[in-house]
C-alpha cells in the first residue's frame, strides 16, 4: 500500500503534467482545478507517508519500498551493470518529502492570480517539477537520485525563463548552467565510486548504484575520499547554495515567479544539503572530516556575509534570497559539526527554512501583486492597509529570525549549540555563527520596519486589485498562509514530531559512519582534553566552615 502511494507520488504528477499540457489554454479554470486537486492529493499522501514512517524504517526496511531492476546489463551474472528504480522512505527523507507535499498545493494556489498567461504550460511544468522533487527524496539508487536531481532543473528553468521578471532569461540561463556544471562533476564522482566498488580489491565486478552499498564502502583511501568529497561538493554546494558559490541564487530567486521562488527556496536548495547528508557524510566520512573545518569556516562566512548583503538590499525579494545564503550557512554548520544534535538540527533547519522562507516569498508575492513593486523604499506602513498580511509577515519574520516558540529557533539553537560543542568545529564556530542571530534580526526587522511600519507609502496607481480583489488578503491567500503559520508554531513547540524518528535514523545511517573513523576518535579525545583542563589553582576549598557565617554577622558592627 505504501509502495503504491509512494509511486503515485512520483508518477501521478508527471502524468498530470502531460494531461494538463494537453488541455486547451482557454480552459484555464480546469487547468487550475486539476493542478490543485493533484497538489492537494500529493500533499495528503506525502504527509500520510511521513506520518507512517517509524523510527525503525531504514536500509532493508524502507517504507513503501519498490526495487525494480531498470537497466540490468548482465542479469544473473555478478559482473555487469545494474541501475534500479529503487525508491523508499526512511526517517531522513520522509520529513523533506512531507515538506515538499505541503508546499505543492500552496504553490499551485498562489499562482492562480500571479500567472496570467500560458497557464497550460506553467502548470504542466509545475507538476513535472513536483514529480521530480518527490523522486529525489524517495530515490535509493544513486543514479536514480542523480536523474531526478538533474530533472528538476528543467521545469524550473522554464518557470524562471518564461514567467519570471525583467531579467528572466539571464537568470534562468545562469541558474541552469551554474548548477548543471557543478552536478556534472558530482556525476563523475558517483561513477568513480560505483566503479571503485565494482572493480576495487573487494569488488565483485557488478557496477551497482545502490545507496546502501555505496554508503558502506570501507576500503576507500583518505586521498580518494578527499577528492570524492570535492566532487560531491561541486554539485551539492552550488545547489545549497554554499558561499562563495551562491551568486546564481539571488538572481534566480528574484526573477522567478512566486511559486518558483517558494519551491526553489523551500525544496530545491534542500537537494544540496540533503545530498551532503546522504552522500558526502556517509560515503566518504574521512573526506568529510578532512574538509569539515573548511566547510565550517565557509558556512560561517556565508552566514555573516549573506546577512550583511541582506541588509543593504532595496528589493524585498532579493533580501529574502540573500537570507537563504545566510540560513543555509547555518544548516551546513550544523551538519559539519558532526554531532547527532547538529545533524538533527540541520535537517530541522532544512524543513524550517523551507517553511519560513517559502512563506516569506508567498507574502512578498502577495504584496507584489497589489503594488507591482518590491522596492523597500517605495513601500511603507502597509500594516495599516493590510493588517492581516502584516500579522502573517511578522509571524514568518519571527520564525525566520529564530524566535523561541516558533520553528526557526529549535533548529537555529541546536545547530549553533552543536557547532559550539563539536569536537570537529568547536566553540569559536559557535561564537561566530551566533552573530548570525543578531544580524538576522537586524536585516529582517529593517525590512519589516520599512515595509510594514511608518507612514503609509504606496506607489502611484496602486493598489491594483484587479487580480486579487481585496486590499488585504483574500480568502484564498489566507488559506495559503494559515497552514504554514500553524506548522511553524507546531514545530516550534513540539519539534519531536520530526526528531523522534529522525534522530535514531541519523545516528544509525550517518553518525555511525563518522564515529567509525580514526580521525573522529582522535578529534573527540582532543576535544575532551581541551574542555576539561584541570585547574591550575584551586579556587574554592571544599572545607565546610559553618562558623564563618555566624562570625561574619558579628564582625560588621
Amino acid at each position: 500500500m505504501n509502495a503504491l502511494l509512494l509511486n503515485i507520488l512520483i508518477l501521478v504528477p508527471l502524468l498530470a503534467a502531460v494531461v494538463v499540457w494537453c488541455l486547451p489554454e482557454r480552459r484555464a479554470d480546469l487547468i487550475r482545478q486539476v493542478s490543485l486537486v493533484v497538489g492537494l492529493g500529493v500533499a495528503a499522501i506525502a504527509l500520510l507517508l511521513w506520518w507512517s514512517v517509524g523510527a525503525d524504517a531504514g536500509p532493508g526496511n524502507l517504507l513503501g519500498e519498490t526495487n525494480w531492476a531498470w537497466i540490468n546489463v548482465a542479469a544473473g551474472d555478478a559482473a555487469g551493470l545494474l541501475i534500479s528504480y529503487h525508491v523508499g522512505l526512511d526517517p531522513i527523507s520522509a520529513p523533506l518529502l512531507a515538506l515538499t507535499g505541503l508546499l505543492i498545493p500552496l504553490s499551485v494556489a498562489c499562482s492562480f492570480s500571479y500567472i496570467r498567461n500560458r497557464q497550460r504550460e506553467y502548470y504542466a511544468w509545475l507538476l513535472a517539477l513536483t514529480g521530480g522533487m518527490f523522486g529525489v527524496f524517495a530515490a535509493r539508487d544513486v543514479l536514480l537520485f542523480y536523474i531526478f536531481f538533474e530533472f528538476t532543473l528543467v521545469p524550473m528553468y522554464f518557470m524562471i525563463g518564461i514567467w519570471g521578471g525583467g531579467e528572466r532569461r539571464y537568470a534562468a540561463n545562469k541558474f541552469f548552467l551554474y548548477t548543471f556544471v557543478g552536478s556534472v562533476i558530482t556525476f563523475a564522482g558517483i561513477l568513480y565510486l560505483a566503479a571503485r566498488h565494482a572493480y576495487g580489491p573487494t569488488g565483485t565486478g557488478l557496477v551497482t548504484f545502490d545507496l546502501e552499498i555505496l554508503s558502506s564502502l570501507a576500503d576507500l583511501t583518505l586521498q580518494e575520499q578527499i577528492l570524492l568529497f570535492v566532487a560531491f561538493f561541486s554539485g551539492f554546494a552550488i545547489k545549497v547554495p554554499f558561499f562563495p558559490l551562491h551568486t546564481w541564487l539571488p538572481l534566480a530567486h528574484t526573477e522567478a515567479p512566486t511559486a518558483g521562488s517558494v519551491l526553489l527556496a523551500g525544496i530545491l536548495l534542500k537537494l544540496g544539503t540533503y545530498g551532503f547528508l546522504r552522500f558526502s557524510l556517509p560515503m566518504v566520512p574521512d573526506g568529510a572530516l578532512y574538509w569539515a573545518s573548511t566547510m565550517g569556516t565557509l558556512a560561517i562566512a556565508g552566514v555573516i556575509y549573506g546577512a550583511l548583503c541582506c541588509w543593504v538590499q532595496q528589493d524585498i525579494k532579493k533580501l529574502v534570497a540573500y537570507s537563504s545564503v545566510s540560513h543555509l550557512g547555518f544548516c551546513m554548520l550544523g551538519m559539519f559539526s558532526m554531532l547527532p544534535v547538529g545533524l538533527s538540527g540541520s535537517v530541522l533547519y532544512m524543513i524550517n527554512h523551507g517553511l519560513s522562507t517559502g512563506a516569506l516569498f508567498l507574502v512578498i508575492g502577495m504584496i507584489y501583486e497589489r503594488y507591482h513593486t518590491r522596492d523597500i523604499n517605495a513601500l511603507g506602513g502597509l500594516a495599516k492597509r493590510m493588517p492581516l498580511m502584516a500579522t502573517f509577515l511578522v509571524v514568518f519574520v519571527m520564525s525566520s529570525i529564530g524566535l523561541p516558540g516558533l520553528n526557526g529557533f529549535v533548529s537555529e539553537f541546536t545547530v549553533l549549540f552543536a557547532a559550539y560543542n563539536s569536537p570537529v568545529l568547536g566553540p569559536w564556530y559557535g561564537v561566530l555563527g551566533a552573530t548570525g542571530i543578531l544580524l538576522g534580526a537586524i536585516y529582517m526587522l529593517y525590512m519589516t520596519g520599512k515595509v510594514l511600519f511608518g507612514p503609509v507609502r504606496e506607489p502611484v496607481n496602486t493598489p491594483d486589485l484587479e487580480a486579487v480583489g481585496t486590499q488585504d488578503l483574500n480568502a484564498r491567500e489566507i488559506a495559503i498562509l494559515t497552514p504554514l503559520a500553524i506548522v511553524c508554531v507546531v514545530l516550534g513547540v513540539a519539534p519531536r514530531v520530526v526528531t523522534d524518528t529522525l534522530d535514531p535514523a541519523l545516528a544509525e545511517q550517518v553518525m555511525v559512519r563518522i564515529e567509525q573513523t580514526e580521525q573522529f576518535r582522535e578529534l573527540q579525545a582532543g576535544f575532551d582534553d581541551f574542555v576539561y583542563v584541570e585547574p591550575t589553582t584551586p579556587r574554592l576549598t571544599a572545607a565546610v566552615l559553618p562558623e564563618t557565617t555566624a562570625s561574619v554577622a558579628e564582625g560588621g558592627s
Binding site: V312, G381, P427, L438, G454, G556
Partner: protein
Amino acid sequence: MLAATELPWVTLFATIPFWPLLGAVIVAILIANRQSPERAHAPVIGGAAISAVLSIVMFFTIWGQAPAADGTHAAADGPVPAALVSEGDHAGEHGDAHGDGHAVVKKDFSKIGTTYTLYNWISLGDAQSLKGAEGGQWLAFNFFFDGLTGMMMLFVTVVSTMVVIYASGYMRDHHMHPEPGYERFFAFLGMFVFSMAMLVMAGNFVLLYLGWELVGLCSYLLIGFYYGKPSAADAAKKAFIVNRIGDFGFALGIFALYMFISPLAQPGENPLDYATVFKYADHLATHEYAGMSQATLVSLLLMCGAIGKSAQFPLYVWLPDAMEGPTPVSALIHAATMVTAGIYMIARCGPIFAASETALMTVAVLGVIGALLTAMMAMAQYDMKRILAYSTISQLAYMFVGLGVGAPDSAVFHVFTHAWFKALLFLCAGSVMHSMGNIIDLRHFSGLRTVMPQTRTLMLIGCLALAGVFPFSGFWSKDEIVHAAVYQSPVLGGLLMLVAGMTAYYTFRMYFLCFHGPTRTPPEAGEHPHEAPPVMLRPLYVLAAGAVLTGFMGVTFSFSLSESVFGIFNPHGFFHDYLGNSTMVPGPHHAGGIWVAYASLALAIGGIGLAYVRYGHAPQEDPDQAALGPLFSLMHHKFYVDEIYDAVFVRPLRRLGDLCFGVDRGGIDGLVWLVAAVPRGLGGLFRLGHRGALQGYALSMVLGLAVIMMIWQLAG
C-alpha cells in the same frame, strides 16, 4: 524530578502562564471574527487575574514548604536554611578594610526547589534520548518552583493585572470609545504576561531564553504599537536589536554551560535544568577554561543577556526610546516587569555568579556606572516618561550593584518594591498625559494639583518611594543595597549614596514642575482638563498601597538603638527568610551600620529640599539649565551616546554590508563570469582552425598523420 520535596498543587501552578495566553488567543479569535473591540479587554484581564490569584496561592504554598531554618541562627542573621554552609573567606585577597569578607555561602541545591516537567521539548541527541529511553537528557519544557519564583510571580502577575485594568480605561478617548487597535493591544498584553511568566517559571536555561525572547517580541510589538509613527517603529526595532546583542552573549553562555555540565550530568538529569546546573556549580568554580574559571566565563556571558534585558550600561539605550509605546506598556514592560528579567536571571544563577569574584565585580561596576550616568541624564529631561525611564535604568543599576556585592536578596527586594512604585509613577504620568491631550513635556503644563488632585496624591506617594524616604518601600530596599555596597567598598557605597540624592532631586524636580506653580494646561488638553476616570484610578490605589507597604516585608521589629532604624525597624525580615528557600546565594549579612540608613535618608530629604528650592514654584525658565550651562545640554542630549553608537557601530556595519554586496556583484560573481568565459574563449580559439578553408584542413591532416607516424616509429 530532582525535587527533594514535591510542591503541593504543582500541576495547578504550572498552568499560571497559560491563562493570559488563553486570554490573548480569545482576543485574537475575536479579531479574526471582526467582533466589536468594546469588550476585548475582558479575556485578558480575566486571564491575568486568574494568574494573579494562583500566584498568590503559590506564594503561600511555597512559603509553607520552605525548609526549616537552622535553629542555631537567629532570624536577625538572615535566612540560613539548614542546607547552608559557608566557605572560604576571600576578604584578605581584596584588601577589604572591614575584613568581614565575602564568604561564599553554599547551599545544598538538591534540596531546594521543585522541578515540574510538562514534556520533553528538544532532543539533545545523546545516546539515551536517541533511543527514546528513560533517563535520556533533554531540553525539557519544565518549570522550577522556589522562593524566588514565588516572590517574582507574586508581583509580576498582580502588577500586570493592575496595569491591564488601567489600560482598559487608558486606551480610550475622552468619550470612552476604544482607540483604534484596542483589541490588538490587549492581545499583545496577554501575550506579554504569558511571556514574563514563562521567563520567571522556566525550569531550565533554554526555556528561560524562550521567555526572554518572547518578552522581547512583545516589547517590539507594544513599543511599536503606534506603528504609523516612524519614531515608534524605530524604537521598537531598536529595542529588539539591542536586546539581541545581549541575547547573543546569553546564548553563548548557555552553550558554554552545556559544554561544562553535560559530561557531569547523570542519566536522567537534563544538563541545562537549573537543578542540574546548580548541583554541579562547584565544578564550574574549580575548573578553568580559556584562561579563566568556567564560572567566570559562563557568568560574564549570561550577564550580557542581563545587561540587554535590564537596560544596563552599555546597552541601556533602548529603554528611554521605548517610551514611544502607550503608557501602560511603559509601566508594564519597562518599569515593573520585563526589565527585571536580567536581575532575576542573575539572582537565579546565584551559584554560578557567586563562584566568580570577577563576574560579581563586573556586575557591580557596570551597575554603578549606569546608575550615575542615567541619574545625570534624568536630571536634564523634560519628558515625564523619559525622566521615569532614566530613573528605571538607574534603579535597575542599583539592583545590579546589589547583585554584585553579594546581596541578591536585597536586589530582589528592590525589584519587588520598585515594581509597585514605578508602575504607579508611570501610570500616574499616563493619567497626566491622558488628561493633557497626549502632551507630556513638563514645559507645557504646571500646577496640576488643582486639576488632578487624586493623581497628585498618588504621584507623591510614588515619588517619595522612588526618592527613598522613610517609611516608603523604596527606602528599605534601596538602603539595603547601599548598606551592602558600603561594606564591600566605600567608593561604591559613596557613589550609590550620591545617586540616591540625585534621584530624590530629579524625581521631585519632575513632581514640582508638574503639580506646583500656577495652573497651566496646553491647548491640546481642551477647555476642561479632567481627573482620570475611576477605572484608571482604582488600580493605582492598589499599586500605591504596594508602594507604601511592601517595604515592611523586609523588616522585623525589635528594639535596638544601634541596630535598628529609629530604634525599632530591623532590616532583614520576612522577605529575606522567604527567599532563603531559593537558588540565590547571598553573601553574609552585615549587621549594624545603621548610619547608612540615616545618611541615605538625609541625602534623599536633602535632594527633595533642593528640588523644592529650585523648582517649588515650577519656574518657566529652568534654573539648572542656566546654572549648569553646557553640562546641562550634554546631559539633556544623553551625552550623545546614541549618536556615538550610530557612528561607531551601526554605520560601519552597514558600510560593511555595502562592501559585501559590492564584492558579491563585482568580485565573486566576477569570478563566475571569468570561469564562464573560459569555455567561450577556448571555443573562440578552436574556431580559428575551423574557418572552412579546405587547404587548412588538408594541412593539419597531413601534419597529424606525420606526428602519428613519428610516434609509431619511435615506439616501435
